[in-house]
């Protein structure tokens, strides 16, 4: 087996707190193969974006990062700033969540994008602008020649998001980190972008880590899914497998919270209890307080992410089994 395009092993990020370090990321182990699209799902604050940023060598101020992150053969953690530039953009590009804030309001789109292209691909400014114009056209943006002369505030959120994707692709990276790139867009634009990303993955053998909390998007786009809870990966599986046979009780509940058309508004379910605090130093499973399958074992021993089926791993002492058919009513009695 060749090494994956993007590989996280035991990633931990701590920030100093008043009573010892606070774990922002407790344990992220995850890999994205070449040409593979992996969805990273979980509630806000579970550490999805933070993990993706760590892959580019970004970490909160004063934090301590340990573990391993590899982009191909490049070891990110511990790499000095000037070496990080070798991968940033060039081998691994990130699409940020809020394109309106992620693009510089004082420079034209063309300037920002061509700067990146000319720096990363060694092109002259003129050639870079041509590349950028072509990339914008590829994103189905109308009048790309006009667009390069515009400032971010003159464009809509959807246009900016597509420009951001164009910027990411202009560097021709091997890995794309997409942090909720479609959350702010309307459904038709979202669908267009998802189709586009899928094509790119296939055509250019692009590996994508797609962060979202929208399970519908995951189902439409991803090959595999990883579920995050409180800074930990609790389950990974093939997309179809996860939707059919989720093992981790948290995943099951997460799937069940997705609103279903026709079910009415009265029964919008939620997961009882709260996400554990960063100061929570319990030894056992972090989900145990919210889990009705929890036993003494769960409260004392933190479960490891183990494969229970080929390609399907869960960090749970009492995973749901494939043959165990669970009705929605069983999850939310």
């Amino acid at each position: 087996m060749t090494s994956p395009a993007l590989d996280f092993r035991g990633l931990k990020i701590d920030v100093p707190g008043p009573a010892g370090p606070l774990p922002l990321i407790r344990d992220v182990t995850l890999s994205v193969g070449h040409g593979e699209i992996v969805g990273l799902v979980g509630e806000s604050g579970s550490g999805k974006s933070l993990s993706a940023l760590a892959a580019l060598g970004f970490a909160p101020a004063d934090s301590r990062v340990s573990g391993q992150i590899r982009i191909g053969d490049f070891e990110v953690i511990g790499a000095p700033a000037d070496r990080l530039r070798e991968v940033r953009g060039r081998r691994c590009a990130m699409i940020f969540q809020d394109a309106t804030k992620s693009l510089n309001p004082y420079f034209t789109l063309g300037r920002q994008l061509s700067d990146v292209v000319s720096l990363n691909r060694g092109l002259s400014h003129r050639d870079a602008v041509d590349v950028v114009t072509q990339n914008l056209a590829d994103m189905n943006l109308p009048d790309p020649g006009l667009m390069v002369g515009k400032y971010p505030h003159q464009l809509s959120g959807g246009q900016l998001q597509r420009a951001m994707i164009a910027m990411a692709l202009s560097c021709e990276p091997e890995v794309l980190l997409a942090d909720e790139p479609t959350t702010a867009l309307d459904v038709t634009v979202q669908a267009q972008i998802l189709v586009l990303l899928r094509e790119l993955a296939r055509q250019r053998n692009l590996s994508i880590l797609f962060i979202t909390h929208d399970l519908g998007v995951v189902a439409a786009l991803c090959d595999r899914v990883a579920v995050m809870y409180a800074g930990t990966i609790v389950e990974t599986a093939w997309c179809t497998e996860l939707f059919a046979n989720a093992m981790h009780p948290y995943t099951r509940k997460l799937l069940a919270t997705a609103p279903v058309l026709g079910r009415g508004r009265a029964t919008l379910p939620n997961i009882p209890g709260r996400v554990p605090e960063l100061t929570d130093r319990r030894p056992g499973c972090l989900f145990a307080p919210r889990c009705e399958r929890a036993t003494e074992l769960c409260r004392e021993v933190r479960p490891l992410l183990l494969s229970h089926e080929p390609g399907h791993a869960a960090a749970c002492h009492h995973p749901h089994r494939i043959d165990e058919v669970t009705a929605r009513e069983d999850i939310f009695p």
Binding site: L56, F58, A81, R85, E86, V87, R88, G89, R90, A93, M94, F96, D98, K101, S102, L103, N104, P105, Y106, F107, T108, Q112, D115, V116, L119, N120, Y151, H153, M167, C171
Partner: protein, 340 residues
């Protein structure tokens, strides 16, 4: 809103604010202890002399009447006659404006040229020795009052080293030999026009200490504001984006972040000018600089109502006008405000 109506509104505001400034200084100067009458007439005046002086100054009328007639005159640019020089206030101001302009303009340029780079270096090297040095020096500078800086500089550079003259704008030998004729009121420029190098260097030497004092007292403000603004910009998501796309750190800092800092800094330049006007009053007094600041101090201490109100109004107007220009400039350079 079109640019035209924006400027119109701002000009209207300017007039209203100036009317307020005139009103406040008019009444403030009236409640100060003492009376100009005592100044005008000699020792132990008779009751008749006092009465005559009051009529001459218009002080026999009621305060509201005085105020209204003053307002009407002021609207025409007539602030009356100075009680101490006996000349129209506006002429006195015209004669001294050049001195203040030379002092504040030179200091302003220096403050921006030194303060902004210092703030930027400080922000980019946050918490590193360069930043700590800049911050320590600017806190020390901000803690020293203007008059203290001025006197210390005088003691060191005139008293101890004898490098620069103590006060004034020109050596008296040059000032009174009749060879020098001010045209613009900016002696450094006037001497160049006259083609006299000796006068030029003399004027320049006189300029050094007052400018240094005014610059040093304003520098901490600009440095700190620049540092804070730049640090805020460095936290912006679009800066992280640039880093995430492998753009060199120096390029990100001095191209992307600096532009984002400089544009809002334009407005700070306007505020700095106001701060500097406050400083120039003290500096001109210390260095016996024949500008508006020193004139204002003397007018106040001599109960010279017309001069006090006149100078205050002119200074306030210049501050308001500069800030109007600065805001328009800001609209011109910020792409988000352009065309709106």
């Amino acid at each position: 809103m079109t640019l035209g109506s924006y400027i119109g509104r701002r000009l209207l505001m300017l007039v209203i604010i100036l009317a307020g400034v005139i009103t406040i200084t008019f009444f403030l100067s009236r409640v100060l202890p003492g009376s100009p009458v005592e100044m005008m007439i000699g020792y132990r005046p008779t009751a008749e002399e006092i009465e005559a002086a009051k009529i001459e100054l218009g002080l026999d009328k009621s305060l509201p009447v005085q105020y209204l007639s003053f307002l009407v005159d002021a609207a025409r640019g007539d602030f009356g006659k100075s009680l101490s020089t006996g000349r129209p206030v506006i002429e006195d101001i015209g004669q001294r404006a050049g001195a203040t302009l030379e002092l504040t303009f030179t200091s302003m340029v220096l403050v921006l040229l030194i303060g902004i780079p210092l703030g930027v270096i400080s922000a980019v090297n946050r918490e590193k020795p360069a930043d700590q040095f800049v911050r320590a020096v600017s806190i020390a500078g901000a803690a020293l009052p203007v008059f203290m800086v001025g006197i210390l500089l005088q003691m060191l550079f005139e008293g101890q080293l004898g490098w620069f003259p103590l006060q004034g704008r020109l050596s008296s030998s040059l000032l009174f030999d009749g060879s020098f004729e001010p045209r613009t009121g900016l002696y450094v420029i006037d001497s160049l026009i006259a083609g006299s190098w000796s006068t030029f260097f003399d004027a320049l030497a006189h300029l050094v200490l007052p400018v240094a004092t005014l610059t040093l007292s304003t520098l901490p403000l600009v440095t700190r504001i620049t540092r804070n603004m730049m640090m805020e910009v460095l936290e912006e998501e679009y800066i992280r984006t640039a880093h995430a796309y492998g753009v060199r750190a120096s390029y990100v800092h001095y191209r992307y972040a600096l532009r984002a800092t400089l544009i809002p800094l334009i407005t700070v330049a306007g505020l700095t000018y106001g701060y500097m006007l406050g400083g120039t009053v003290v500096v001109e007094f210390i260095f016996d600089w024949p500008g508006l600041g020193g004139y204002l101090v003397r007018s106040i201490s001599r109960n010279d109502f017309p001069a006090t109100v006149g100078v205050t109004t002119v200074l306030a107007a210049s501050y308001l006008l500069i800030n109007l220009v600065v805001d328009l400039l800001y609209h011109a350079v910020d792409p988000r405000l352009r065309n709106t």
